[in-house]
């Protein structure tokens, strides 16, 4: 009997730098994607609620397209399609290039969800707020910027937070775009040491370390910043 398959955590000691490097890659990827998708998502939601029908249509089309396409397809497309077939590359250094290609596809995908959570947030702002803003003469951009969005952002914290947590978990799919992060490292260790329970639990715990504090922070913030009505 070889009980190592159930209890031996030593592969982590042997590969500690690689594992830490892989999780650092996950963090960097998630952070960059988080920022970019927040910017793009805000832009999209502004388009989706704007008075201009064409902009609204563009926003809706974007969200429907990216929200309903599997992330796996988008990321494989970034790697094999954009980089290898269309030769759109950001850097000659392979790891830098695959990082930005992954961030590009991943942000494009996540932005659709950011947009939807912001829109859900806008929908929680009572009608009277918008009416009052208009009554004092604010035009669309100002009422959005000064009255609606500040309240909408606060109401969006909970859904945005779950998008954030989902995004961290989704970052594992990036391995199909050829960027080495935690999931790719786990798969490599499965090949080198066998798919043992400790390796799986170690990586699962690593992700919990990333997602659980994020979850707590989000629920704390959403309670603290909730608009009392």
């Amino acid at each position: 009997m070889n009980w190592d398959v159930l209890f031996d955590f030593s592969p982590f000691a042997k590969e500690s730098d690689k594992v830490l490097e892989a999780f650092w890659a996950t963090i960097r990827l998630s952070a960059t994607t988080g920022v970019l998708s927040l910017i793009l998502g805000t832009l999209l939601v502004a388009m989706r609620v704007s008075p201009t029908p064409v902009l609204r249509a563009i926003g809706t089309f974007y969200v429907n397209t990216f929200r309903n396409t599997p992330l796996t397809l988008i990321l494989v497309f970034c790697s094999l399609g954009l980089s290898d077939t269309l030769k759109i590359n950001i850097s000659d250094e392979t790891s830098v290039n695959s990082f930005w290609l992954a961030v590009f596809g991943f942000s494009a995908y996540t932005a659709a969800f950011v947009c939807e959570s912001l829109r859900a947030g806008i929908n929680t702002v009572p009608l009277g707020q918008a009416e009052a803003a208009r009554a004092i003469g604010l035009p669309f951009t100002q009422s959005l910027r000064l009255v609606i969005l500040p309240q909408a952002f606060r109401a969006s914290i909970a859904p945005l937070g779950s998008v954030l947590i989902a995004m961290i978990k989704n970052s594992t799919v990036v391995l199909v775009a050829g960027y080495i992060e935690a999931a790719a490292q786990m798969r490599q260790m499965f090949e080198d040491y066998g798919a043992t329970l400790p390796i799986f639990l170690g990586f699962a715990a690593g992700f919990m370390v990333l997602t659980l504090p994020a979850g707590l922070l989000v629920s704390h913030l959403s309670k603290r910043l909730a608009v009392i009505r």
Binding site: V54, L71, I148
Partner: protein, 317 residues
Amino acid sequence: MTTLTSATPPKKKSKRPKAEPTVLFDAPGPKARRRNAILTVLGVVVVAGILYAIYHRLDQADQFQGRLWKPFVEGSTWTKYILPGLGGTLKAAVVAAVLALLFGVVFGLGRMSDHAWLRVPSAIVVEFFRAIPLLLLIFFIFSGPATIATGLNREPPHISAFTAVVAGLMLYNGSVLAEIFRSGIQSLPRGQSEAAYAIGLRKNAVMRLILVPQATTAMLPAIISQLVVLLKDSALGYIIAYEELLNEGFKQIPANYGNLLPAAIVISVIYILLNLTLSRIATVLERRSRRSRKSSAPTMAAGAPTQIESGMGNAAF
């Protein structure tokens, strides 16, 4: 709840009074109309620019050759690759959905049990599978059992890619569904169960006769939107070579014809149509259950901000 962004966009020739298209902005005056026109032109120009850039890139890479697109108008491509792939996707999704619903009911109810020995393990299981990435789970289910069985001198089980995908989807989505069930039942007014206990029903009967039927109506949209997530997640099977739509359409077809980009476009259109149809069903059900007054529970919208883990907040969808 009244919403700021009205579901129906303002139509120029609609019978609705022009003054109230949506609450966010007034009916456009002359200045606003001019600005709208400018933004419209700008939007069209930017989109046209992006489309042209894409077209140009594709053209440069010779992606508009007829031979790359021809396979998609031939019946054999569809019968040989796309339809079997679609079948694989649907098979995995349907089996996983049924199992996930069962898993969700069992663990959702388990978490609400009065007995700690049931409640605590259920909570641990649900929280564990919700917190880890689905892909890691699929990898482990795919290759873990064989390694462990060999280590313990047992006959290694044969875990097919189908089993791994379905089991992963079941555990992950089942845990999310368990939470949806729990919050659905907890969202019912306390008076419902109190009244039921008052007329002498036991816990079992209260659940079965009073709470579950009401909660089901309220939960349906959230459940369906979770099933959309599940369907889209089945594309992760691509990574462990399960023969689903992405694998057949995006690996096999380009392997035969070298047409990666056209294949990507066709396959994503199929996915989008499939998911839009399912989401459409969710919306219709949501509207319907909003109309019916049989339940005292507020309808849990698909991906609404109150419902943290439904629709939006999930792994690889």
